[in-house]
Protein backbone atom coordinates (compact mmCIF):
# COMPACT_ATOMS: atom_id res chain seq x y z
CA UNK A 1 0.00 0.00 0.00
CA UNK A 2 1.74 3.17 -1.07
CA UNK A 3 1.22 6.36 0.83
CA UNK A 4 1.67 9.86 -0.45
CA UNK A 5 2.22 12.79 1.84
CA UNK A 6 -1.47 13.66 1.82
CA UNK A 7 -2.64 10.57 3.58
CA UNK A 8 -1.09 11.78 6.81
CA UNK A 9 -3.45 14.76 6.75
CA UNK A 10 -6.76 13.06 6.04
CA UNK A 11 -6.09 10.03 8.24
CA UNK A 12 -5.55 12.16 11.33
CA UNK A 13 -8.34 14.53 10.36
CA UNK A 14 -10.83 11.70 10.16
CA UNK A 15 -9.60 10.14 13.36
CA UNK A 16 -9.93 13.35 15.34
CA UNK A 17 -13.39 14.00 13.91
CA UNK A 18 -14.45 10.51 14.93
CA UNK A 19 -13.00 11.00 18.41
CA UNK A 20 -14.81 14.33 18.77
CA UNK A 21 -18.03 12.70 17.65
CA UNK A 22 -17.62 10.00 20.28
CA UNK A 23 -17.27 12.65 22.94
CA UNK A 24 -19.99 14.88 21.64
CA UNK A 25 -20.73 16.41 25.02
CA UNK A 26 -17.17 17.46 25.58
CA UNK A 27 -16.78 18.65 22.02
CA UNK A 28 -19.86 20.83 22.36
CA UNK A 29 -18.73 22.62 25.50
CA UNK A 30 -16.91 25.49 23.78
CA UNK A 31 -20.08 26.19 21.85
CA UNK A 32 -22.24 26.06 24.95
CA UNK A 33 -19.77 28.27 26.77
CA UNK A 34 -19.92 30.74 23.91
CA UNK A 35 -23.68 31.03 24.05
CA UNK A 36 -24.04 31.00 27.81
CA UNK A 37 -21.35 33.52 28.57
CA UNK A 38 -22.77 35.90 26.05
CA UNK A 39 -25.87 36.12 28.20
CA UNK A 40 -23.69 37.46 30.98
CA UNK A 41 -23.05 40.60 28.99
CA UNK A 42 -26.53 42.08 29.15
CA UNK A 43 -26.82 40.88 32.73
CA UNK A 44 -23.58 42.56 33.64
CA UNK A 45 -24.01 45.72 31.63
CA UNK A 46 -27.39 46.66 30.35
CA UNK A 47 -30.31 45.19 28.43
CA UNK A 48 -30.55 48.44 26.52
CA UNK A 49 -30.60 47.52 22.84
CA UNK A 50 -28.75 50.56 21.53
CA UNK A 51 -25.91 50.17 24.00
CA UNK A 52 -25.60 46.47 23.31
CA UNK A 53 -25.48 47.16 19.60
CA UNK A 54 -22.35 49.25 20.07
CA UNK A 55 -20.43 46.51 21.80
CA UNK A 56 -21.99 43.45 20.17
CA UNK A 57 -19.31 42.88 17.53
CA UNK A 58 -16.46 43.11 20.00
CA UNK A 59 -18.13 40.99 22.66
CA UNK A 60 -19.01 38.21 20.25
CA UNK A 61 -15.42 38.14 19.10
CA UNK A 62 -14.02 38.10 22.62
CA UNK A 63 -16.36 35.26 23.56
CA UNK A 64 -15.37 33.27 20.47
CA UNK A 65 -11.72 33.80 21.32
CA UNK A 66 -12.17 32.63 24.90
CA UNK A 67 -14.18 29.60 23.85
CA UNK A 68 -11.46 28.59 21.39
CA UNK A 69 -8.80 29.16 24.02
CA UNK A 70 -10.60 26.80 26.39
CA UNK A 71 -10.70 24.01 23.87
CA UNK A 72 -7.31 24.25 22.24
CA UNK A 73 -5.26 22.63 24.98
CA UNK A 74 -7.08 19.35 24.37
CA UNK A 75 -5.58 19.20 20.89
CA UNK A 76 -2.59 17.11 21.91
CA UNK A 77 -3.24 16.36 25.57
CA UNK A 78 -5.31 13.24 25.06
CA UNK A 79 -2.82 11.77 22.62
CA UNK A 80 0.04 12.55 24.95
CA UNK A 81 -1.60 10.66 27.77
CA UNK A 82 -2.37 7.44 25.98
CA UNK A 83 0.80 7.15 23.90
CA UNK A 84 -0.69 8.14 20.55
CA UNK A 85 1.55 11.17 20.40
CA UNK A 86 4.56 8.89 20.28
CA UNK A 87 3.04 7.16 17.26
CA UNK A 88 2.42 10.56 15.70
CA UNK A 89 6.07 11.48 16.10
CA UNK A 90 7.25 8.40 14.24
CA UNK A 91 4.90 8.42 11.26
CA UNK A 92 6.88 8.23 8.02
CA UNK A 93 4.91 11.19 6.71
CA UNK A 94 6.26 14.63 7.49
CA UNK A 95 4.92 15.70 10.85
CA UNK A 96 3.36 19.08 9.91
CA UNK A 97 0.76 17.34 7.71
CA UNK A 98 -0.85 15.13 10.37
CA UNK A 99 -0.64 18.09 12.74
CA UNK A 100 -2.51 20.23 10.21
CA UNK A 101 -5.08 17.44 9.96
CA UNK A 102 -5.63 17.57 13.70
CA UNK A 103 -5.88 21.36 13.66
CA UNK A 104 -8.43 21.19 10.86
CA UNK A 105 -10.47 18.74 12.89
CA UNK A 106 -10.26 21.11 15.83
CA UNK A 107 -11.54 24.00 13.75
CA UNK A 108 -14.34 21.90 12.30
CA UNK A 109 -15.49 20.97 15.79
CA UNK A 110 -14.92 24.34 17.48
CA UNK A 111 -14.47 27.33 15.18
CA UNK A 112 -17.05 26.31 12.62
CA UNK A 113 -19.86 25.67 15.14
CA UNK A 114 -19.03 28.99 16.82
CA UNK A 115 -19.25 30.75 13.50
CA UNK A 116 -22.57 29.14 12.68
CA UNK A 117 -23.97 29.95 16.13
CA UNK A 118 -22.88 33.57 16.02
CA UNK A 119 -25.99 34.95 14.28
CA UNK A 120 -27.97 33.72 17.26
CA UNK A 121 -25.77 35.81 19.50
CA UNK A 122 -26.03 38.70 17.07
CA UNK A 123 -29.75 38.66 17.59
CA UNK A 124 -29.42 38.47 21.38
CA UNK A 125 -26.97 41.35 21.47
CA UNK A 126 -28.77 43.54 18.94
CA UNK A 127 -26.06 43.44 16.30
CA UNK A 128 -27.07 45.73 13.42
CA UNK A 129 -28.19 43.83 10.32
CA UNK A 130 -25.29 44.95 8.19
CA UNK A 131 -22.94 43.22 10.56
CA UNK A 132 -24.13 39.64 10.15
CA UNK A 133 -22.38 38.64 6.95
CA UNK A 134 -19.07 40.27 7.90
CA UNK A 135 -19.34 38.58 11.29
CA UNK A 136 -19.73 35.16 9.69
CA UNK A 137 -16.82 35.74 7.32
CA UNK A 138 -14.49 37.18 9.94
CA UNK A 139 -15.30 34.47 12.48
CA UNK A 140 -14.79 31.70 9.94
CA UNK A 141 -11.35 32.96 8.96
CA UNK A 142 -10.44 34.23 12.40
CA UNK A 143 -11.28 31.09 14.36
CA UNK A 144 -9.15 29.14 11.89
CA UNK A 145 -6.24 31.46 12.76
CA UNK A 146 -7.00 30.94 16.45
CA UNK A 147 -6.94 27.15 16.08
CA UNK A 148 -3.66 27.29 14.20
CA UNK A 149 -1.90 29.63 16.60
CA UNK A 150 -3.40 27.86 19.60
CA UNK A 151 -1.95 24.60 18.34
CA UNK A 152 1.55 26.01 18.65
CA UNK A 153 0.84 26.92 22.27
CA UNK A 154 -0.72 23.51 22.89
CA UNK A 155 2.35 21.80 21.45
CA UNK A 156 4.64 23.87 23.68
CA UNK A 157 2.74 22.96 26.83
CA UNK A 158 1.62 19.42 26.09
CA UNK A 159 3.80 17.68 28.64
CA UNK A 160 3.06 20.08 31.46
CA UNK A 161 0.46 19.45 34.08
CA UNK A 162 -1.94 22.35 34.39
CA UNK A 163 -0.62 23.48 31.05
CA UNK A 164 -3.99 24.99 30.23
CA UNK A 165 -3.56 28.23 32.09
CA UNK A 166 -0.01 28.70 30.89
CA UNK A 167 -1.24 28.04 27.38
CA UNK A 168 -3.65 30.95 27.65
CA UNK A 169 -0.85 33.23 28.83
CA UNK A 170 1.30 32.28 25.89
CA UNK A 171 -1.28 32.46 23.21
CA UNK A 172 -3.36 35.56 24.06
CA UNK A 173 -0.76 38.07 22.82
CA UNK A 174 -0.58 36.16 19.56
CA UNK A 175 -4.36 36.34 19.24
CA UNK A 176 -4.52 40.09 19.39
CA UNK A 177 -4.05 40.92 15.70
CA UNK A 178 -6.79 38.43 14.83
CA UNK A 179 -9.31 40.04 17.12
CA UNK A 180 -8.36 43.53 16.00
CA UNK A 181 -9.04 42.80 12.35
CA UNK A 182 -11.94 40.51 13.08
CA UNK A 183 -13.90 43.15 14.95
CA UNK A 184 -12.79 45.82 12.50
CA UNK A 185 -14.41 43.87 9.68
CA UNK A 186 -17.73 44.00 11.47
CA UNK A 187 -17.39 47.63 12.59
CA UNK A 188 -16.52 48.78 9.10
CA UNK A 189 -19.65 47.13 7.76
CA UNK A 190 -21.82 48.63 10.47
CA UNK A 191 -20.39 52.07 9.74
CA UNK A 192 -21.16 51.66 6.06
CA UNK A 193 -17.56 51.35 4.91
CA UNK A 194 -16.08 48.67 2.68
CA UNK A 195 -15.39 45.76 5.01
CA UNK A 196 -13.33 43.71 2.60
CA UNK A 197 -9.92 45.30 3.39
CA UNK A 198 -9.78 44.22 7.05
CA UNK A 199 -11.17 40.85 5.99
CA UNK A 200 -8.37 40.60 3.45
CA UNK A 201 -5.82 41.23 6.18
CA UNK A 202 -7.49 38.52 8.22
CA UNK A 203 -7.12 36.31 5.18
CA UNK A 204 -3.42 37.17 5.03
CA UNK A 205 -3.04 36.26 8.70
CA UNK A 206 -4.78 32.99 7.94
CA UNK A 207 -2.48 32.26 5.00
CA UNK A 208 0.61 32.95 7.10
CA UNK A 209 -0.73 30.81 9.93
CA UNK A 210 -1.50 27.84 7.70
CA UNK A 211 2.01 27.99 6.29
CA UNK A 212 3.91 28.49 9.55
CA UNK A 213 1.93 27.17 12.49
CA UNK A 214 1.97 23.45 11.57
CA UNK A 215 5.76 23.67 11.24
CA UNK A 216 6.15 25.44 14.56
CA UNK A 217 3.74 23.07 16.29
CA UNK A 218 5.51 20.01 14.84
CA UNK A 219 8.88 21.32 16.01
CA UNK A 220 7.50 22.08 19.44
CA UNK A 221 5.95 18.60 19.72
CA UNK A 222 9.28 16.94 19.00
CA UNK A 223 10.93 18.97 21.70
CA UNK A 224 8.38 18.91 24.46
CA UNK A 225 7.39 15.27 24.23
CA UNK A 226 11.01 14.24 24.61
CA UNK A 227 10.40 14.13 28.36
Amino acid sequence: MGHSINSGYSAWLKRDLLLAYRRRGEAASPLIFFVMVSTLIPLGLTPESSQLAEIAAGMIWVMALLATLLSVDGLFANDYQDGSLEQLLITPQLLPMPVLGKITAHWLTTGLPLTLASPLLGVMLSLPTSGYLPMLCSLALGTACLSLTGAVGAALTVSLRKGGLLLSLLVIPLYMPVIIFGTATISYAIDGLNWLPPLAILGALFAASVALCPLAAAGALRITSAN
Binding site: L18, R22, D82, G83, S84, E86, Q87, I90, P92, A226
Partner: protein
Protein backbone atom coordinates in the same frame (compact mmCIF):
# COMPACT_ATOMS: atom_id res chain seq x y z
CA UNK B 1 -8.70 -19.93 22.19
CA UNK B 2 -5.81 -21.02 19.93
CA UNK B 3 -4.80 -18.46 17.32
CA UNK B 4 -6.17 -18.94 13.83
CA UNK B 5 -3.73 -20.03 11.11
CA UNK B 6 -2.20 -16.96 9.55
CA UNK B 7 -1.42 -16.99 5.85
CA UNK B 8 2.31 -16.80 5.39
CA UNK B 9 3.76 -14.07 3.22
CA UNK B 10 6.61 -14.61 0.82
CA UNK B 11 9.91 -15.11 2.64
CA UNK B 12 12.21 -12.11 2.41
CA UNK B 13 15.78 -12.92 1.33
CA UNK B 14 18.43 -12.52 3.98
CA UNK B 15 20.64 -9.55 3.22
CA UNK B 16 24.35 -8.94 3.82
CA UNK B 17 24.57 -5.58 5.55
CA UNK B 18 23.09 -5.46 9.03
CA UNK B 19 19.53 -4.29 9.07
CA UNK B 20 20.23 -2.00 11.96
CA UNK B 21 23.52 -0.71 13.23
CA UNK B 22 24.01 1.65 16.11
CA UNK B 23 27.38 3.39 16.50
CA UNK B 24 28.51 5.18 19.63
CA UNK B 25 25.06 6.36 20.46
CA UNK B 26 24.81 8.69 23.40
CA UNK B 27 21.98 10.59 24.96
CA UNK B 28 22.22 13.17 27.66
CA UNK B 29 19.52 15.05 29.44
CA UNK B 30 20.13 18.08 31.58
CA UNK B 31 23.88 17.66 31.46
CA UNK B 32 23.85 14.13 32.77
CA UNK B 33 24.46 11.16 30.50
CA UNK B 34 21.53 8.80 30.28
CA UNK B 35 23.15 6.56 27.67
CA UNK B 36 26.74 6.37 26.55
CA UNK B 37 28.71 4.37 23.98
CA UNK B 38 25.86 2.26 22.77
CA UNK B 39 27.08 0.01 19.99
CA UNK B 40 24.98 -2.74 18.57
CA UNK B 41 24.03 -4.32 15.30
CA UNK B 42 21.10 -6.38 14.27
CA UNK B 43 20.77 -8.70 11.30
CA UNK B 44 17.65 -10.15 9.81
CA UNK B 45 16.36 -13.02 11.84
CA UNK B 46 17.90 -11.78 15.06
CA UNK B 47 16.22 -10.60 18.21
CA UNK B 48 17.88 -8.26 20.66
CA UNK B 49 16.65 -8.20 24.21
CA UNK B 50 17.63 -5.06 26.07
CA UNK B 51 18.01 -5.61 29.76
CA UNK B 52 18.78 -3.34 32.60
CA UNK B 53 17.56 -2.12 35.92
CA UNK B 54 14.73 0.36 36.12
CA UNK B 55 15.94 3.75 35.08
CA UNK B 56 18.92 2.46 33.13
CA UNK B 57 17.53 3.92 29.92
CA UNK B 58 15.87 0.97 28.16
CA UNK B 59 12.87 2.97 27.02
CA UNK B 60 15.11 5.88 26.09
CA UNK B 61 17.21 3.63 23.89
CA UNK B 62 14.13 2.32 22.12
CA UNK B 63 12.82 5.84 21.60
CA UNK B 64 16.19 6.82 20.15
CA UNK B 65 15.94 3.92 17.74
CA UNK B 66 12.50 5.05 16.63
CA UNK B 67 13.81 8.61 16.10
CA UNK B 68 11.27 9.99 18.54
CA UNK B 69 14.30 11.25 20.42
CA UNK B 70 17.42 12.77 18.94
CA UNK B 71 20.75 11.43 20.18
CA UNK B 72 23.42 13.74 21.51
CA UNK B 73 26.08 11.78 19.67
CA UNK B 74 26.45 8.74 17.47
CA UNK B 75 24.38 7.45 14.61
CA UNK B 76 21.79 4.91 13.68
CA UNK B 77 22.25 3.12 10.37
CA UNK B 78 19.45 1.38 8.56
CA UNK B 79 20.71 -1.01 5.89
CA UNK B 80 23.98 0.88 5.97
CA UNK B 81 22.51 4.36 5.55
CA UNK B 82 22.12 7.00 8.23
CA UNK B 83 18.56 7.07 9.49
CA UNK B 84 18.36 10.82 9.00
CA UNK B 85 19.04 10.35 5.28
CA UNK B 86 16.52 7.61 4.66
CA UNK B 87 13.89 8.67 7.14
CA UNK B 88 10.86 7.60 5.14
CA UNK B 89 12.22 4.15 4.30
CA UNK B 90 13.37 3.55 7.84
CA UNK B 91 10.19 4.68 9.52
CA UNK B 92 7.92 2.84 7.12
CA UNK B 93 9.87 -0.34 7.79
CA UNK B 94 9.44 -0.04 11.52
CA UNK B 95 6.72 -0.90 13.98
CA UNK B 96 6.83 0.48 17.47
CA UNK B 97 4.66 -0.54 20.37
CA UNK B 98 5.51 1.47 23.44
CA UNK B 99 4.76 1.16 27.09
CA UNK B 100 1.30 2.47 26.51
CA UNK B 101 -0.65 0.64 23.86
CA UNK B 102 -1.87 3.89 22.21
CA UNK B 103 -5.44 2.73 22.29
CA UNK B 104 -8.13 5.41 22.17
CA UNK B 105 -10.70 4.60 24.81
CA UNK B 106 -13.69 6.02 23.00
CA UNK B 107 -13.07 3.99 19.86
CA UNK B 108 -13.90 0.32 19.49
CA UNK B 109 -11.20 -2.31 19.17
CA UNK B 110 -11.93 -2.59 15.49
CA UNK B 111 -11.74 1.18 14.92
CA UNK B 112 -8.52 1.44 16.88
CA UNK B 113 -6.90 -1.30 14.88
CA UNK B 114 -8.19 0.07 11.60
CA UNK B 115 -6.74 3.43 12.38
CA UNK B 116 -3.39 1.94 13.43
CA UNK B 117 -3.24 0.00 10.19
CA UNK B 118 -4.13 3.02 8.08
CA UNK B 119 -1.08 4.79 9.43
CA UNK B 120 1.24 1.93 8.62
CA UNK B 121 2.91 1.63 5.27
CA UNK B 122 3.91 -2.01 5.11
CA UNK B 123 1.00 -4.28 5.83
CA UNK B 124 -0.25 -7.62 4.61
CA UNK B 125 -3.71 -8.44 3.44
CA UNK B 126 -5.03 -9.88 6.68
CA UNK B 127 -8.37 -8.39 7.55
CA UNK B 128 -8.94 -6.55 10.77
CA UNK B 129 -11.54 -9.06 11.87
CA UNK B 130 -9.07 -11.89 11.38
CA UNK B 131 -6.38 -9.99 13.24
CA UNK B 132 -8.68 -9.43 16.21
CA UNK B 133 -9.59 -13.11 16.04
CA UNK B 134 -5.92 -13.90 16.11
CA UNK B 135 -5.42 -12.12 19.43
CA UNK B 136 -8.54 -13.61 20.93
CA UNK B 137 -10.74 -10.54 20.75
CA UNK B 138 -13.17 -11.80 18.16
CA UNK B 139 -16.29 -10.99 20.14
CA UNK B 140 -15.06 -7.60 21.20
CA UNK B 141 -14.55 -5.76 17.96
CA UNK B 142 -17.56 -3.52 18.45
CA UNK B 143 -17.02 -2.68 22.06
CA UNK B 144 -15.52 0.70 22.99
CA UNK B 145 -12.16 0.25 24.59
CA UNK B 146 -13.06 1.93 27.85
CA UNK B 147 -15.00 -1.24 28.57
CA UNK B 148 -11.98 -3.45 28.02
CA UNK B 149 -9.26 -4.34 30.47
CA UNK B 150 -5.63 -3.29 30.26
CA UNK B 151 -4.70 -6.73 29.04
CA UNK B 152 -7.27 -6.47 26.27
CA UNK B 153 -5.92 -3.05 25.29
CA UNK B 154 -2.49 -4.58 24.93
CA UNK B 155 -3.98 -7.32 22.77
CA UNK B 156 -5.47 -4.71 20.45
CA UNK B 157 -2.02 -3.20 20.09
CA UNK B 158 -0.48 -6.63 19.55
CA UNK B 159 -2.97 -7.31 16.77
CA UNK B 160 -0.88 -4.87 14.76
CA UNK B 161 1.84 -7.49 14.74
CA UNK B 162 -0.35 -9.80 12.75
CA UNK B 163 -0.93 -7.29 10.00
CA UNK B 164 2.45 -5.57 9.93
CA UNK B 165 5.04 -6.41 7.30
CA UNK B 166 7.59 -4.01 8.72
CA UNK B 167 11.01 -5.60 9.05
CA UNK B 168 11.92 -3.99 12.35
CA UNK B 169 9.78 -4.43 15.41
CA UNK B 170 10.58 -2.29 18.42
CA UNK B 171 8.63 -3.40 21.45
CA UNK B 172 8.81 -1.84 24.89
CA UNK B 173 7.82 -4.29 27.62
CA UNK B 174 5.44 -6.14 25.31
CA UNK B 175 4.68 -8.83 27.87
CA UNK B 176 3.12 -6.40 30.31
CA UNK B 177 -0.41 -7.25 31.40
CA UNK B 178 -0.83 -10.36 29.27
CA UNK B 179 -1.41 -13.87 30.53
CA UNK B 180 0.56 -17.06 29.86
CA UNK B 181 -1.42 -17.86 26.75
CA UNK B 182 -0.72 -14.37 25.48
CA UNK B 183 2.98 -14.80 26.20
CA UNK B 184 3.23 -17.93 24.08
CA UNK B 185 1.17 -16.28 21.36
CA UNK B 186 3.49 -13.31 21.30
CA UNK B 187 6.59 -15.46 21.27
CA UNK B 188 5.16 -17.40 18.34
CA UNK B 189 4.51 -14.17 16.44
CA UNK B 190 8.01 -12.92 17.16
CA UNK B 191 9.57 -16.17 16.00
CA UNK B 192 7.49 -16.03 12.85
CA UNK B 193 8.64 -12.49 12.11
CA UNK B 194 12.24 -13.54 12.63
CA UNK B 195 11.85 -16.55 10.36
CA UNK B 196 10.54 -14.32 7.64
CA UNK B 197 13.55 -12.05 7.68
CA UNK B 198 12.57 -9.44 10.19
CA UNK B 199 14.34 -8.33 13.33
CA UNK B 200 13.08 -7.47 16.77
CA UNK B 201 14.39 -5.22 19.49
CA UNK B 202 12.55 -5.48 22.74
CA UNK B 203 12.93 -4.56 26.36
CA UNK B 204 11.75 -7.14 28.80
CA UNK B 205 12.63 -8.97 31.99
CA UNK B 206 11.03 -12.10 30.64
CA UNK B 207 13.04 -15.22 29.80
CA UNK B 208 12.37 -15.76 26.15
CA UNK B 209 12.62 -18.96 24.13
CA UNK B 210 13.46 -17.56 20.72
CA UNK B 211 16.16 -18.50 18.24
CA UNK B 212 19.04 -16.09 17.64
CA UNK B 213 18.35 -14.25 20.85
CA UNK B 214 21.01 -11.87 22.00
CA UNK B 215 20.94 -9.85 25.16
CA UNK B 216 22.19 -6.35 25.55
CA UNK B 217 22.66 -5.11 29.05
CA UNK B 218 22.38 -1.49 29.98
CA UNK B 219 24.15 -0.42 33.09
CA UNK B 220 23.68 2.99 34.54
CA UNK B 221 26.37 5.42 33.31
CA UNK B 222 29.30 6.02 35.63
CA UNK B 223 28.61 8.23 38.57
CA UNK B 224 24.89 7.63 38.68
CA UNK B 225 22.84 5.43 40.97
CA UNK B 226 21.05 2.67 39.05
Amino acid sequence: MPPKKIHRARELPLSQSPLLKVENLAFERDDSAVLENINLSLNRGEVLQIEGANGSGKTTLLRLLTTALQPSAGSILYKGEASSKCRYQYLSDMLYIGHQPAVKLTLTAEENLRWMINSAVKTNSLTIADALDGVGLSGYSDIPCYALSAGQHRRVALARLLISEAALWYLDEPFTAIDKQGVSFLEARLQERLNRGGAVVLTSHQDLTLNNLRKYSLSAPAGQAA
